[in-house]
């Protein structure tokens, strides 16, 4: 640790203290500080050139190869042992099938990972006909082993990448090995990689992004050179990939984002740097880390839409126009193009996940006590409404030529099944108290001007002409004439008396861009008008993209479990770092090969303890620094900063969101965070052991390595499959909550 710098010691990024003392952080380091470790080892080995010497020289090739081989062995061994659909294979296998059958489906995760699952099925020669029901046996024709291997590949590749990452973070060779071993011999990583799930890809993406980030950081003194650009763009690509697999990828994106902000902030503070260079840095990062990932993400959706061209189970989540463009759909078929008085229509809310305007004979239990109006997602005769003229205009006459409706017209909407008018009045809505209640009231003759709604056209994909309302393409608002409020269906569910359907209100807020107040005609019948083909207009890609993404977010938040139901699979955030629980991935029948999701205890407990130790370490040095001790060189500070603090931030970013999140959580949500905890653990062993005597070092590393490997082998049956009675595996049941055995 040859420290040349005799400047005030800095723990940048940690302290909030005196400004002046932080000044020197950005200053370039002396070149000598960097390759210290390599020197050390070279000196040692020059004395006696031998076989070991050769091994040592070629370690950078041999070690990764060896680790990769082991990774592939542990991840692939007996991968096809269990011929049944295990755990979430039921979901992701099914999504793969949808791609193969090209049926539109809806899911909370972005499509890249599932596209790859579909690809693996395609490569395996699978035709998409299997339903992937949980617990069912795979039929002959599916080469599920290949599909699993395809997934396991991503998990296995994480191991050499962890090796390179640790190396790039300036850890010593034994630590690099330890970190790699901890990733290799991590039972939970092994198990999760062996099935048709997205987690191995997510893990791959997270590890790859970290690697690229570390590599890019390593190039920081060689800005704008090809290698620098290469790693910048690789970082961008892997960010794009990981976020396209699961939105959890946003957390590692945030890590890179924080690093980039800090980096640019320092460059901004470097008064010697010309403004153009600063701008170039900024632009390069915008392109590499924002635009490039965004393009990758968009591309994954473009492929998604391109592949899924048939009508399927996810139609209802999309806009009417999008649905009309799917093959085999009912939406828009033979509907007349333009809407007239007397048309029978269904009216769809254009908000994300919006349903069809609906009414039924049940009444509001409070408020006016009149008939309920809701939004409903399923097709039903109660969704049908008639356009009728306002009470001021001439009555509807079935004989006369159709009167078309356009922007600014005032109409009534009559519910087809009950004959009542869509109505609103000065009574608070049942849930959203600040809005007005909307009900169905009266009939053709009974009623008043509070049944009048004025049409305000917002936009029309098909035409600039606003004088007509067109099926599917026209987005319009309905303004209540008397109250001046707008018909709205936010994503608020009514209680049981409203059958948990969506509340419809009339809102005083005039926000033309609020898509929950936008409506369009979905189904349309009118015998006097010629049938048209409203579906010939394409819904714009970007609009579909945004629509689908918002729908994904909102339904992800809606995954709230039934509070009364005991969920043995779910677990809570505090249980993960202490390895309190595992997860049974299939039924626990004696005849079935059983898999249990549980980590390597040393890796979990060690890495969790490491986080605490790291906090103490940082607090210790910060306080000592404030007390005027100058004990850390600039190189030491940088090492803590990049090899210690950033992994810890990564851990927090991947962990805290699950603490806050209200949705149901499972153990595997911790796996990306665990990787950063392992890196922190690596940093700490390196920090505490590197300056010790060789004996201490060797024995410490030997013990750690041996225990990691030993525990891995001890627990390997839960990863490779437990055959036979679960009782014979009770030796692994250290705690009652580790339910790998019923004994």
């Amino acid at each position: 640790m040859a420290s040349v710098v005799e400047k005030p010691v800095v723990a940048s990024g940690v302290d909030a203290g005196d400004a002046a003392r932080r000044r020197n952080v950005g200053a370039p380091q002396p070149a000598g500080a960097q390759p210290v470790e390599a020197d050390d080892e070279k000196k040692q080995l020059k004395k006696e050139p031998s076989f070991l010497d050769v091994l040592d020289q070629w370690e950078w090739v041999i070690a990764p190869i060896l680790f990769t081989v082991l990774a592939f062995f542990t991840r692939f061994y007996k991968i096809g042992l269990s011929p049944i659909v295990t755990w979430d294979e039921a979901h992701f296998g099914k999504f793969g099938s949808h791609y193969l059958k090209r049926e539109f489906y809806f899911d909370v995760h972005p499509p890249a990972g599932k596209l790859l699952v579909g690809l693996s099925g395609y490569l395996a020669g699978y035709n998409g006909s299997f339903e992937f029901k949980s617990g069912e046996t795979y039929p002959e024709e599916i080469n599920y082993t290949f599909m699993r291997q395809f997934n396991a590949f991503w998990g296995a590749v994480c191991v050499p990448m962890a090796y390179w990452t640790a190396k790039e973070l300036n850890l010593k060779r034994p630590t690099v090995w330890l970190v790699t071993l901890m990733v290799l011999c991590e039972n939970s990583y092994t198990t999760i990689s062996r099935f048709i799930l997205l987690d191995s890809m997510l893990l791959f993406g997270t590890v790859a992004t970290t690697l690229c980030w570390a590599k890019f950081h390593g190039q920081r003194r060689r800005s704008f050179e090809p290698e620098w650009f290469f790693w910048l763009f690789m970082t961008g690509l892997s960010i794009g990939f990981v976020t396209s697999v699961k939105l959890v990828g946003l957390f590692v994106t945030a890590l890179v984002g924080l690093y980039t902000i800090e980096d640019l902030w320092r460059k901004f503070g470097d008064t010697k740097m010309p403004a153009t260079e600063l701008a170039a840095h900024f632009v390069a990062r915008v392109i590499g880390l924002i635009i490039l990932p965004l393009l990758v993400y968009l591309l994954s959706f473009a492929i998604h839409f391109a592949v899924l061209t048939n009508s399927g189970p996810g139609d209802a989540q999309m806009s009417s126009l999008f649905q009309a463009n799917l093959r085999g759909t009912e939406v828009g078929r033979d509907s007349p193009l333009e809407v007239a008085i007397g048309s029978r229509v269904t009216i769809k809310n254009m908000g994300y996940g919006g349903g069809l305007l609906h009414s039924h004979v049940q009444t509001y239990p409070e408020g006016s006590g009149q008939q309920q109006v809701t939004c409903y997602h399923h097709k039903d005769a109660n969704n049908d409404w008639f356009f009728y003229p306002s009470r001021r205009d001439a009555d509807y006459n079935a004989e006369e030529p159709p009167r078309l409706i356009g922007n600014g017209d005032t109409i009534r909407l009559i519910h087809a099944q009950t004959g009542r008018n869509l109505h609103s009045h000065e009574i608070s809505a049942p849930i959203t108290k600040s809005d007005k209640e909307v009900s169905s009231y009266g009939n053709l003759t009974v009623g008043d001007e509070k049944d009048h709604w004025k049409i305000e056209v917002i936009s029309d994909v098909a035409s600039w002409d606003r004088s007509k309302i067109r099926t599917l393409t026209t987005a319009f608002r309905l303004k209540h004439e008397v109250l001046g409020c707008y018909l709205r269906a936010g994503n608020v569910n009514l209680p049981q008396w409203g059958f948990k359907q969506i509340e419809v209100t009339c809102t005083k807020d005039n926000k033309p861009r609020d898509s929950y107040t936008h409506w369009n005609i979905e189904a349309h019948t009118n015998e006097k008008l010629p049938p048209g083909d409203p579906g010939k207009y394409k819904s714009p890609f970007l609009r579909d993209f945004i629509h689908l993404n918002v729908a994904m977010m909102t339904s992800n938040n809606a995954l709230v479990p039934d509070p009364d139901k005991q969920d043995d699979l779910a677990s809570q955030w505090w249980q993960w770092p202490i390895l309190n629980v595992g997860l049974r991935m299939c039924s626990w029948d004696d005849k079935i090969t059983k898999y249990f999701l549980l980590g390597n205890p040393l890796v979990y407990w060690g890495s969790t303890a490491g986080l605490g130790v790291f906090a103490i370490l940082v607090a210790w040095y910060t306080i000592r620094w404030q007390r005027g001790y100058k004990e850390l060189s600039q190189h030491d500070v940088d090492q803590i900063h990049y090899a210690g603090i950033y992994p810890v931030i990564g851990w927090f970013l991947h962990y805290l969101p699950f603490v806050i999140m209200a949705r149901v959580t499972y153990v595997h949500h911790y796996y990306p965070a665990l990787y950063f905890a392992i890196l922190t653990f690596g940093f700490l062993t390196d920090w505490f052991l590197s300056n010790r005597q060789k004996v201490v070092q060797y024995s410490a590393y030997a013990i750690l390595d041996a225990v990691v490997i030993g525990l891995y082998i001890y627990f390997i049956p839960i990863c490779w499959g437990m055959v036979g009675s679960n009782k014979q595996y009770s030796y692994m049941k250290w705690f009652d909550s580790w339910r790998m055995s019923d004994a």
Partner: protein, 915 residues
């Protein structure tokens, strides 16, 4: 040391002369030297602003400000003469304190205790129930003015506190007076301070803490010479006391604690960095002093308040339903006799659900209208014969001849005590109806989930039962008392599940109410895979002839003060977090700094109280925060570019002092974004206080401290600016004042100041001219309404409907504002509300009306539950009565909303006629 003395001398000299102090900044070389001489943690550019050492003229200003505040706050404080907004609750709590009846509220007790004290001293006996907004105070003789006086006094003191705080922060007297003036003429603060509400006490608590901590910080920043001096100690201890007070009024005090905590950490960090003067030992002393003052004192104070709270509330009340059985057993008359410990076959027991406060496993001779149509099983919160169950073995016991002994008394004379061990299979026999607890594969009435089965009572007298009556006892060892209670069934100590043998489901209950046909009692089901907490039961009452007087007895463990304290905290937290229902007058935090909308408090007699701030004060305060944020953003950017702004002490002080206030604002504002519960404009007041402080400090710096812009040299600008701004604020205050005081107003004036449609008070309420008010038969002052004098037995009518009722009979009201109505129910022209009557109807559990004889016959045998209903009789021009339209009369909804904080918190306690 030499340096600190050197600083001290000029600083005292400076204080003596109000003229702006010369800064060492003037000559570069000198200032560098001065900077080098700085050897301890003393902050640069700080003067001693001890508020005890102000010139006499400042105290005169302070007294003047106080008098002004009193005049403005107390003006017509008796108005209105009826219950306003949340007085429903906080007045009601005072009644309950006086009666000693336990209640649950989401706020800590201090302010409610003080309100009670004021009421009690004025002779309030707790008989008035503050039931609804608009209920009259005068007739029952409630000393409501005395009760309003407490918040008013708090509100008055807020002005001098602001004055002193700004002085302690180093502002000129004129700037400090401006701050106090803005507090006085802030309409929102005024409205809150004139009613029985908690916000005014909360504000004075926060403000006092800010004063104490500002003074302490000032002493602290003066360096080692002031540390541990009397003034330093005094203000440190006062900060702790202030925190305790604030926290004991509302939990918003936690944000104040966060503010003090953050700044204390900064101070400690600076101390830590002065390694030449502050030894580790000295640092430890600093640290301990703060730990004691800022943690121990507030905690102790807070707990003491709850101590008083528990001392006052000794009787059962409507808050019982929130608390555990252990807690309830500490209340008078809820305490239970000791019960035999062992539960035996043949015991008559009551079985209670652990997790919800739903009560006892209950059945009554009513059938489910759905599902199996068998007899209902519910949870019922009160003691009742229908809660009694007899625990039977799966089979009847055998006598000495090997023959089964039949009948329910079969277990009474067995040679050995028939204990119920873990895993025993039982039948539960309902004594009153001769039916047994039963379950089968039928969906429950409300929760129609696949994994839940209906539970019913099934059979008849003499029926042997079937296999669906069998339940297995499974003791939950972790929740049971250790020892014998984990081996066999024991009263209270054993917590167990009842597993239905045939289907494997577990007896289960959750907070789901059954409909009217079961008197809204709680649903009981049998669940496969229900959560454990909701599946756990215990035996509370237990009788068995074989267990004599000498048998071992048990009772609830007394939770003790800490147990009760902690349980109440948890319940308050949960209730608070559960207040998520939307409310007609709620608002989200983003609407507050721009004063988007207010809260409708009260409306009657063509007057209205609507909580809205003084827009000028409000927006200026928000602007100050924005200005600081921009300043800070630029300062940080320039700092990173090494521009050296921080070399100027004025710059540094501006950043730190206003930063302190803005931090207070931020900590009292941003946390609300994280809250899912319903929020109101009045939650912004503590943040507003800090924002006003920031505004005055910015004003002070710009007009009197920043060198080089030419204002500092002319003290007149500071004074004139303050005067002009204050005058403008008073003018704006005056425009909106009728809404704060509930004064008469005119439509025209109202519409003139209603700048935004989101300021949704109703101008149509007011009359066209002030003259019209004097011709109103009901004066706003304390004159009884005509109805009351004519027909005293008619209770005061409520709210808007009251507007109609209080119009003299027969006299047409030309300017009647149009009532928002439901179509189909327009009020026919020419109809008059004749009267509203209240009479008592008795109905049985089926809703049948009972006549007087039947009622007489039932008296003493049953409990009666009272439900209020207001009936409106309407006659047309010919005097014929008009039947009420469906959905009630239009406009009958209450203008001001029910209590926002506690609404929905009180569990609906259902009482039924037990037979």
């Amino acid at each position: 040391m030499a340096r600190s003395l050197a600083v001290k001398a000029p600083s005292q000299a400076r204080r003596a002369s109000p003229s702006p102090s010369p800064q060492p900044h003037g000559s570069g070389a000198k200032s560098k030297k001065a900077a080098k001489r700085k050897v301890d943690y003393t902050s640069e550019g700080v003067e001693d602003n001890d508020v005890f050492l102000l010139p006499v003229s400042d105290y005169q200003v302070m007294i003047l400000v106080t008098i002004a505040a009193a005049a403005v706050r107390l003006f017509r404080i008796y108005q209105p003469t009826s219950v306003v907004f949340d007085e429903v609750h906080f007045g009601g709590f005072a009644s309950k304190y006086i009666k000693g009846r336990f209640f649950m509220d989401v706020h800590p007790p201090l302010a409610k205790l003080m309100i009670t004290l004021f009421g009690w001293l004025a002779g309030f006996n707790g008989d008035f129930d503050f039931k609804e907004i608009g209920k009259d105070y005068l007739e029952p003789g409630v000393p409501y003015v005395a009760m309003r006086l407490f918040p008013a006094i708090c509100g008055i003191l807020l002005a001098p506190t602001m004055f002193l705080t700004l002085k302690a922060a180093g502002c000129r007297t004129s700037s400090a007076a401006l701050g106090a003036g803005l507090i006085i003429f802030e309409n929102g603060l005024l409205t809150q301070a004139r009613l029985i509400l908690l916000d005014s006490p909360l504000m004075i608590g926060t403000a006092f803490t800010a004063l104490a901590f500002t003074s302490f910080s000032n002493q602290q920043e003066l360096g080692p010479s002031k540390a541990f001096q009397p003034s330093w100690w005094f203000w440190l201890l006062m900060t702790g006391l202030g925190l305790g007070i604030t926290l004991s009024i509302k939990w918003v005090g936690l944000f104040t604690i966060a503010w003090v905590g953050c700044l204390t950490l900064v101070q400690l960090w600076v101390l830590l960095g002065d390694y030449q003067n502050v030894s580790v030992r000295l640092f430890a002393k600093h640290f301990m002093a703060r730990t004691f003052s800022l943690i121990v004192i507030p905690m102790a104070f807070y707990m003491a308040m709850f101590g008083i709270h528990f001392l006052c509330l000794v009787n059962p009340g409507e808050g019982d339903g929130f608390m555990s059985s252990e807690f309830q057993s500490t209340l008078n008359s809820k305490a239970m006799q000791d019960v035999p410990a062992d539960v035996l076959m043949g015991s008559r027991v009551t079985i209670r659900h652990v997790n919800t406060q739903g009560g006892y496993l209950h059945s009554h001779p009513l059938m489910y209208p759905t599902g199996s149509k068998q007899q209902q099983i519910t949870l019922y919160p009160h003691k009742d014969d229908n809660n009694m169950w007899l625990l039977e073995n799966q089979t009847q016991p055998l006598d000495i001849h090997g023959q089964p002994i039949n009948g329910t008394n079969a277990w009474y004379n067995l040679p050995e005590l028939p204990y119920i061990n873990d895993g025993a299979i039982l039948r539960l026999y309902h004594l009153n109806t001769f039916r047994r607890l039963h379950s089968h594969d039928v969906r429950p009435p409300v929760t129609e989930a696949d994994w839940q089965n209906e539970v019913s009572a099934y059979g008849y007298e003499g029926f042997d039962g079937d296999a669906n009556d069998f339940f297995r006892v499974e003791i939950v060892k972790k929740q049971s008392k250790s020892g014998i209670a984990r081996e066999r069934l024991r009263t209270i100590d054993t917590k167990f599940r009842l597993v239905h043998v045939m289907t494997g489901c577990v007896l289960f209950s959750h907070k789901v109410k059954l409909p009217d046909w079961a008197s809204e009692q709680q649903e009981v089901t049998c669940a496969r895979g229900g959560t454990l907490p909701n599946s756990v039961w215990y035996v509370e009452q237990n009788e068995h002839p074989s267990l004599g007087e000498t048998a071992e007895k048990v009772n609830y463990a007394n939770p003790g003060f800490f147990g009760k304290f902690w349980e109440l905290q948890k319940v308050m937290w949960k209730t608070n977090a559960g207040l998520v229902e939307s409310h007609a007058w709620d608002s989200r935090p983003e609407a507050w700094p721009i004063l988007r909308r207010g809260i409708n408090f009260w409306g009657k007699n063509h007057t209205q109280i609507y909580l809205i701030g003084n827009p000028l004060v409000w927006w200026s305060a928000s602007a100050a925060v924005v200005i600081y944020a921009i300043f800070k953003g630029i300062a940080v950017l320039r700092w990173q570019r090494s521009c050296g702004d921080y070399a100027s002490p004025t710059f540094k002080r501006f950043d730190y002092e206003i930063g302190t206030s803005v931090l207070g604002w931020a900590l009292h504002y941003f946390p609300f974004y994280l809250m899912q519960r319903q929020l109101f404009l009045h939650h912004y007041f503590p943040a507003l206080y800090f924002a006003i402080m920031a505004f005055c400090q910015v004003f002070d710096f710009v007009t009197a401290r920043v060198p080089g812009i030419g204002l500092k040299e002319h003290p007149i600008i500071n004074r004139a600016g303050a005067t002009i701004f204050l005058a403008l604020s008073v003018a704006v205050f005056w425009l909106f004042a009728p809404l704060a005081y509930g004064n008469p107003w005119t439509k025209a004036e109202c519409n003139r100041v209603k700048l935004f449609s989101t300021w949704d008070w109703d101008c149509n309420t007011f009359l066209d001219s002030y003259d019209a008010y004097s011709s109103l038969p009901i004066s706003v002052a304390a004159v009884p309404t005509p109805e009351q004098s004519q027909a005293p037995h008619i209770p005061p009518v409520q709210e808007e409907a009251g507007q109609q009722a209080q119009v003299p009979l027969g006299g047409a009201q030309p300017e009647e504002p149009e009532q928002p109505g439901i179509s189909g129910a327009p009020l026919p022209a020419g109809h008059q509300v004749l009267s509203r009557e209240e009479r008592i109807e008795y109905r049985d559990q089926h809703g049948n009306l009972l006549n007087e004889e039947q009622v007489e016959a039932l008296k003493g045998k049953v409990e009666f539950k009272t439900r209020y209903e207001t009936r409106t009789r309407l006659v047309d021009a010919d005097g014929n009565e008009i039947p009420p339209p469906e959905g009630g009369w239009p406009g009958e909804e209450v203008v001001a909303p029910p209590h926002p904080d506690v609404q929905g918190a009180h569990g609906h306690v259902s009482v039924r006629y037990s037979s």
